[in-house]
Amino acid sequence: MGILEVKDVGKRFGGLQALSNVNLSVKENSVHAIIGPNGAGKSTLLNCLVGKLIPDSGSVMFDGQSVLGRAPFEINQMGISRVFQTPEIFGDLTVMENMLIPIFAMRDGAFRMHAYETVANEREVIEQAEQMLEEMNMADKRHMHSAALSRGDKRRLEIGMCLSQKPRLLLLDEPTAGMARADTNNTIDLLKQISEERDITIAIIEHDMHVVFSLANRITVLAQGTPLVEDDPQNIRGNPKVREAYLGESA
Amino acid sequence: MDAILLQILNGLDKGSAYALIALGLTLIFGTLGVVNFAHGALFMIGAFCAVTLQRILNLSFESVDESQTDFLGNPLKVKTPYVEAWFGPEAGAVIIDWSVPLAVLFAIPIMLFVGYAMERGLIKFFYKRPHADQILVTFGLAIVLQEVIKYFFGANPIQTPPPEALRGSLDLGVMVGFDPNAIIYPIWRLVYFVFATVIIGGVFAFLQFTTFGMVVRAGMADRETVGLLGINIDRRFTIMFGIAAAVAGLAGVMYGPLNPPNYHMGMDFLVLSFVVVVVGGMGSLPGAVLAGFLLGILESFASTTWATTTIPGINQIIIYLVAIIILLTRPRGLMGRKGVMED
């Protein structure tokens, strides 16, 4: 039984069957990659997992509880954090504030009317945030306006924000898309480190095979809205069906 | 039945004014993303183009008529317009009589220039500024334009009557077999409706069938990409601004004979035109036109005795009530595009 169990999920947009009979099981503490050609339904699947879309059929269970019908913030509170394709951070706020918000969210829940307290007096939260910034090697940038960060730093900040909530499942949507090679390698190293050092499961949607094979220990291949195969990386590499459906095309 | 037809007709007429103003506004606001609080002022300037032309045509020389006296008992100064002196009394009188239709021609270059000057001189610096700044600067501009007009023309409304031939009303009911006096409608209001239809059709055709229009529509959808293609979209947007100003101005010129222009008529329409554009949906020209006509018709029906006795005060709030209902049932108005002015 995996921490995330997707059973028979189907989703239709008008005449387009985006997903059908998707079954997926993500094992605890694994790095599970979901790959597939463009239009295979990767993003749709991801959106079904985080509550942005509601599938027409099937079930999505996280740690034994259904996520279907819950709003994104509720699913996050269950322990799923999401990293976006283009980093989604609070651009108008400082790096430090960016880091404080998820920690407040973890401590106080989805809403709390803490209008009379002062941020500066929340020592515990600030300490946690500072610690996470240290770990992300961003402590020196804490007073910077986060919109002014480089793309790689924004990515680090976003991942740090997600990690600060100690999620059990981290979902990454093409985390290296549009990055320079050096930034990509840095991100790979960071994710490797995270999966080794932390008690955390990672599910990653990725296009870049270099990233996938550097990180994943389990891979699901999606094609035309259906899982083609789910296996270990070395088997995927040799699988002719996958080559035909995906690698052949994109190579 | 006849009462319903009458209110539909009236609604179409009201709606054509709303649609015209909203059309111009949505070109600027819904597509360039500029919150233009000076749009009402453009409408007002249009109307005052007609007033100005009327004044120009009535420029007169004075001669003293000893046989009559003015209110203080002094000999009366009689004014004769130069136009009448030059073209003869009859032809001159006809020209003066037709000053509003002539003002359409007079207003087009003026409004194009006003729009051009506004965009190049002011608005272009505000494309990347927050909406709040756009509101403040265009509101300031609207006040200035309004006060300038007030300084020269006063606060009192000024009549710009339609030509003699187009005054009065038609008994439309008789034409389709109703009793006399059942459906009476003013000729100029029918003219306004036809005029609005032509202008709206013209703008749509322009955007639909010309290459210029295609580029502009593409630019509305994705400004950056079109810019990357090496097309100077900024210049085209300037021209669009001019066109939007001209549409608003012409709406104003033709509106004058319906209700005499005054310097604050723009502000009276401002809020309403924003409501129309938003109800139509941001970034949608057909939406703005549709919403204009829809709100016009609903407003007409809400003002019937039947409606006001059923729900007291409905005529006061109908527009806003409908706006709320539409925005709550259709998140982006009638035909709005996703992501336009939603944050």
Binding site: V119 | F125, G140
Partner: protein, 401 residues
């Protein structure tokens, strides 16, 4: 002090000094000099500065922090005023219960309107709030003032009549709004040579309340809640995926700012027990938007400055007429005098709108951050003069610590 850091404490102290000393600061010219026209230190205008300051500070909690632009906040001000006058009519002229009720009623209405309007964002939200406010105005102006059910007294404005019950009114209490017997109109005039200064009870009540709510606004700005509101403005998507529900945050901000507006409305009625429907019209809602932007959106002191700026023009410039102008320039030779008066004539008196419009444009063109930015630039310029180049680039947002 009071849980504020040094910078905020300084700001609060400055605001406190400015409001408490306003009777002196606003009357800098001797009362019989030609410049006395520019004196703003009379009770009514001082009260207005402070009341509209409260209104704008509250509006800024919504608009400045969350970015949600409400175009209907005047409705809450109006509801506050009507509630207060009804308190006067039914119970007593004491201002405390009246103000309390206005805050509560405005809170309730803003809860309802905010709950509905916040289902949409951006311009759609603005138009929803505008629609609600315009409906309130239209109803208050006519429908709700019909003789059978007169809730608002329409065009004239709701006021206290001699035959109103006023259950707790006693002989010996002022026939005007009062604070436990101290009439809001009580004024002590201090004559100092050619100068005269007015100390008005109502003004000081407003000033004290303003300091309290300004302090609360600072607390909100510096609180985790305030940070969450700024997060709403910055990126709602990230907020939702961080486990935060943005809706109650925005609704709370909406209700708080609605209550500020209600408080302002209640105070207006307490200073002058008449509630006119026009204070709910869209132009009134637009005015507070302009005040906030003009002063500096998202800054603490900006909205107060913006409010003062606009009210000053409305009340001072509109009263400068040609004979005042002639009085000023009487020292010039006749032709010159007439010329100068003719040049200035369009900008003052009935032309005060024109001056205001021009200033709006100048401020937004040259000071993108509003009047506060003007202040910052001025300060930097002075510092630059004095201490050379050790100035940091003006930080846009203060660090959270």
């Amino acid at each position: 002090m009071l849980g504020l850091d040094k910078k905020d404490t300084t700001l609060l102290i400055i605001v406190a000094l400015l409001t408490l000393l306003a009777p002196f600061l606003l009357n800098p010219f001797p009362s019989d000099s030609a410049m006395a026209q520019f004196n703003a230190g009379y009770p009514d205008l001082m009260q207005r500065f402070v009341i509209f300051g409260i209104f704008a500070v509250g509006f800024n909690i919504l608009f400045g922090l969350t970015g949600y632009l409400s175009f209907g906040h005047a409705a809450f001000l109006g509801i506050g005023s009507y509630s207060a006058v009804w308190m006067f009519k039914l119970f007593s002229y004491n201002v405390i219960p009246a103000i309390a009720l206005s805050v509560i009623m405005a809170g309730l209405f803003s809860l309802l309107i905010g709950f509905i309007s916040l289902r949409r964002s951006g311009i759609y939200f603005s138009i929803l709030t505008l629609a609600f406010a315009q409906m309130s105005f239209a109803l208050a102006y006519s429908v709700l003032s019909n003789p059978k059910f007169n809730l608002t007294n329409g065009e004239t404005g709701l006021q206290v009549y001699a035959d109103d019950p006023q259950m707790f009114h006693r002989d010996g209490l002022p026939d005007l709004p009062h604070l436990f017997g101290l009439s809001m109109r009580s004024t002590y005039t201090l004559d100092m040579g050619a100068w005269s200064f007015d100390f008005n009870a109502g003004y000081y009540l407003c000033a004290v309340i303003m300091m309290i709510v300004f302090y609360l606004a600072i607390r909100i700005f510096r609180s985790p809640f305030g940070m969450m509101l700024r997060a709403v403005k910055s990126n709602q998507q990230r907020m939702n995926y961080t486990g935060l529900n943005s809706r109650p945050y925005t609704l709370a901000a909406f209700v708080i700012s609605g209550m500020y507006a209600g408080l302002a409305g209640g105070l207006m009625a307490a200073m002058d027990p008449l509630a006119g429907a026009e204070r709910m019209q869209w132009t009134a809602s637009g005015e507070v938007v302009l005040m906030t932007i003009l002063g500096g959106t998202g800054t603490l002191i900006g909205p107060v400055l913006g409010a003062g700026f606009i009210k000053y023009f409305e009340n001072i410039f509109s009263k400068i007429n040609d004979s005042v102008l002639h009085g000023w320039f009487a020292f010039l030779p006749d032709g010159m005098e007439d010329f100068v008066v003719a040049v200035l004539h369009p900008f003052v008196g009935k032309g005060w709108h024109l001056t205001l419009g021009i200033l709006f444009m100048l401020v937004v063109i040259f000071l993108p951050g509003g009047l506060v930015e003007g202040g910052t630039r001025l300060r930097n310029w002075f510092r630059g003069k004095r201490s050379g180049a050790d100035d940091k680039p003006s930080g846009k947002t203060e660090p959270a610590e």
